[in-house]
């Protein structure tokens, strides 16, 4: 595992507006750790759009929305407290827009997230290396944005807590990572004091169903390159379907299966600098947009450990 100590792969999971989830640094979901006293910082730009969406299970378009697009700019940081414990933070700025109809675009800072990634087990089994991770994260809205303007809201405004178990196995230059995540979501408050789901509610508070997701990724991880394919499945545990020709609502059931690929390349010319590109597509869903997402980013690693930075780098690098 230590071979890949300096990898700092970030892609965001901002997709899925209709239901925007907090945009997360994806390093919380890969089998890579920062070494002690190293700090990786970077920025990403992402563009996601959909024309078709699922109204419940019915796939449709909407001529009064046209194509709904989301742009995201985010900053993220990852620090190695120890070789086996990393802390990560991220915050995105989002912009949404519908190409047709009269609804106004929305923009603003969305939810900040903080993750702790712990690798308690790392051992050689058979021909490969197995590592096990326990990951915990929290997100909180950083601004008073409007969640009740879907599908153009920049987020759902719920505070979240995520607990994730993950295993990573690498044989030679190839690896596979599997993780499962439970996301607790807090109630949210609307600007109106009554709303209808499948029944009338006389309150401004909305109960948000929790989310369970699974993520599998596999590919090539060696030297300056990481190239991986990803399948991600997200299920909302509860919530209700968008009724016929209705608008989406924050507590809708929002399910999605995504496939995608990520690439990371570490540039030799500038030490510690890497670039990221990724893309994904929603292949199946319920009450979400069938989004296509592309992202790119640049990251830089700063080593804060005083002793023999350079030597350490050289010796550990493949």
């Amino acid at each position: 595992m230590t071979k890949y100590w300096k990898a700092c792969i970030y892609t965001s999971i901002f997709l899925l507006i209709i239901g925007a989830l907090p945009a997360n640094a994806q390093t919380d979901i890969d089998g890579i750790m920062m070494t002690k006293n190293n700090f990786c910082v970077g920025g990403m730009y992402g563009y996601s759009s959909w024309k078709n969406y699922w109204e419940g299970t019915l796939k449709r378009n909407n001529l009064n929305l046209g194509t709904v697009s989301t742009q995201m700019i985010s900053v993220m940081g990852n620090y190695g407290i120890t070789d086996k414990l990393n802390i990560m933070v991220g915050a995105p700025y989002m912009m949404t827009k519908a190409s047709a109809g009269t609804l106004h675009s929305m923009k603003g800072v969305q939810d900040g997230s903080l993750w702790l990634k712990w690798m308690p087990v790392e051992k050689t089994i058979g021909k490969g290396d197995l590592s096990i991770y326990g990951i915990a994260g929290a997100s909180i809205p950083l601004a008073n944005y409007e969640p009740d303007f879907l599908p153009l809201s920049i987020g759902l405004k719920s505070k979240t807590l995520s607990l994730r178990a993950m295993g990573d196995y690498q044989v030679g230059k190839f690896f596979a990572t599997l993780s499962g995540t439970y996301v607790f979501r807090s109630n949210i408050k609307l600007d109106r004091d009554a709303y209808y789901t499948t029944e009338m509610h006389y309150t401004n508070e909305v109960k948000m169903p929790d989310v369970l997701s699974f993520n599998f990724r596999a590919g090539y991880r060696y030297g300056n390159w990481i190239a991986e394919a990803i399948v991600d499945k997200m299920n909302t545990l509860g919530g209700f379907d968008i009724t016929r020709n209705n608008m989406p609502f924050p507590s809708n059931k929002m399910n999605a299966t995504k496939v995608g690929a990520n690439f990371k390349y570490e540039i030799n010319a500038v030490h510690g600098l890497s670039v990221i590109a990724s893309g994904n597509y929603v292949v199946a869903g319920r009450n979400v947009g069938q989004a296509t997402t592309i992202e790119g980013g640049v990251f830089y690693i700063i080593n804060f450990s005083k002793k023999a930075k350079k030597a350490s780098l050289e010796s550990k690098k493949q």
Partner: protein
């Protein structure tokens, strides 16, 4: 160190998760209705459609020493011998008030059905059919005019039914079961009001009958609520079965008169025809104005263009025409240009507080509409006043008749002038709420709110300032949302206030406040 951090993190999460997700709806914590006065003479109050309570026949009840009555008392005792927690919660729910709860049920049905139909493959739009309410598009599309009319009919019918109920209560003067037999427990506040016929059952009978007309596809839900309500009254010791049966029959009979009126009030023809929509557009062009064009894709016919011809409750059709405001600023005038620039300003300049106001008052699709919102505001105010059921009905009826007449006058103005929305005149104007699919002048929200605030300020003068500022905010929300010009909202409020005054004038002479 690292373990410590993990423990702290996990500990923090568990603490956070232990926070309850449960939500308390305001309407579920309303207290049991305990009227501060019985309004014993309400049988003399002025009715709306009935000429007098005696239009309806209610049989003389059996005496309280009759074996049949004693059997009915025993039915209550049987129930009370083994009360489940479910039964107790049903009693608590319905005890908040019959007129209140059936208004809430109506608001819920409106919200459920307030969805515009999806287009046909050829780009036309289907129209819901009352004869086939469960087929898509389901009947009704409970848009604001439809909803305003539904609230008015149900509450007006409830009022006439309860005046009739009060008349017969006084006439027959049969005491409540718990007064006849002191061993009957009473699970709700006691009352000196005679219990035959049951006012709650009169409400059930009236509401069920009206809702057969207005929401014919939701009978299973409505009947289940009706059965639960009647059972709650027996379980609670408030009524014996014959009180319930007499009240329900009375309610149904009164409702029939309102159903007959509704069938002939011209609302059924309000959708109009393609020829009519084209004619309205041509008339507008002939006046030298830019006509309204649907901004939806595909273009949707305007919402209920003939609703302005529906028969009003508070005044005749000549008066309705006399209330019609003068024309909006000409689309070629400087005044119009200024209005349009102001809307553009609000569209271009996002402001969180303005968006909050827009959202609070939006009352768009999948909501109970602006009249439903004002019913909720009124209900939450009335709950604190401890009205008798008949006074509840009277206030809700006048409020909702005013809002229905506001819908009629507003729609009359909209389709007389047929003027365009701001986004049509300046496509760069983007909106912070859904753009309604009908002409702009005058604002429906403003007309409804003006009418509601004027009447509520008469009923609860100490809260007049509050109602007026709510109406002003509701009205402004449409300008902030970039869907209305200032002239739409200002004139809308004036028209609404005028209509509200008709409800006030009636209230001053209906016998309830004298």
């Amino acid at each position: 160190m690292k373990k410590l951090i993990i423990y702290i993190a996990i500990g923090g999460m568990i603490t956070n998760l232990s926070c309850s997700k449960s939500i308390s709806d305001r309407n579920l914590s309303f207290p049991s209705l305990s009227p501060s006065k019985t309004d014993a003479n309400a049988g003399t109050w002025k009715t709306i459609l009935l000429t007098a309570p005696t239009d309806i026949t209610v049989a003389t009840p059996v005496a309280t020493n009759n074996p049949d009555y004693i059997a009915q008392i025993n039915e209550i005792k049987d129930y009370q011998a083994s009360l489940s927690s479910d039964e107790k919660s049903i009693v608590a729910y319905w005890s908040a008030g019959a007129v209140l709860r059936w208004n809430e049920i109506l608001r819920e049905l409106v919200a459920k059905h307030n969805l515009p139909p999806y287009q046909n493959p050829d780009g036309t739009y289907p129209v819901p059919s009352a004869n086939n309410p469960l087929a898509y598009p389901t009947f009704p599309f409970a848009n604001p005019p439809y909803a305003a009319r539904a609230y008015a009919y149900v509450d007006a019918a409830l009022y006439d039914a309860l005046v009739t109920t009060w008349y017969y209560k006084k006439l027959y003067n049969r005491a409540a079961p718990y007064k006849v037999d002191s061993s009957v427990k009473v699970l709700i506040p006691k009352s000196d009001l005679p219990s035959y016929p049951s006012e709650d059952a009169a409400v059930v009978g009236t509401a069920v009958e009206m809702l057969k007309l207005l929401f014919p596809g939701d009978q299973d839900y409505i009947q289940q609520k009706a059965e639960e309500h009647k059972r709650a009254r027996i379980i609670s010791g408030a009524n014996v079965r014959s009180d319930i049966e007499a009240g329900e029959a009375l309610g149904k009979a009164v409702a029939q008169k309102f159903v007959t009126r509704a069938r002939g009030d011209r609302a059924g023809a309000a959708v109009g025809t393609q020829a009519l929509w084209t004619q309205m557009e041509q008339n507008c062009i002939a006046r030298g104005e830019v006509p309204w064009i649907s901004q939806e894709s595909p273009k949707r016919p305007p919402m209920l263009p003939l609703f302005g011809s529906v028969k009003c409750f508070l005044f005749d059709s000549l008066t309705a025409v006399s209330i019609r405001p003068g024309p909006p600023p000409s689309t070629s005038s400087d005044a119009f240009k200024k209005d349009l620039e102001e809307v553009r300003h609000y569209s271009d300049h996002y402001d969180r507080e303005r968006v909050r106001i827009v959202q609070f008052w939006a009352d768009g699709i999948s909501t109970s509409t602006p009249p439903g919102h004002w019913d909720a505001i009124a209900s939450e105010a009335f709950v604190k006043e401890n009205y008798s059921e008949v006074r509840w009905a009277r206030n809700m009826a006048l409020l909702n008749m005013a809002m229905m007449d506001a819908a009629i006058c507003c729609w009359d103005a909209k389709f007389t002038y047929f003027n365009p929305r701001p986004s049509q005149m300046d496509p760069k104007i983007k909106t912070y709420t859904g753009l309604p699919n009908f002409p702009s002048y005058v604002s429906g929200h403003s007309t409804f709110s003006g009418a509601a605030a004027t009447f509520l300020s008469y009923v609860l003068p100490s809260q007049a300032t509050n109602f007026t500022s709510m109406a002003n905010e509701a009205s402004l929300s449409r300008l902030y949302g970039a869907i209305h010009y200032r002239s739409d909202i200002e004139v809308g409020l004036v028209v609404g206030n005028k209509i509200g005054q008709y409800a006030v004038d009636r209230a001053k002479t209906d016998g309830a406040d004298q």
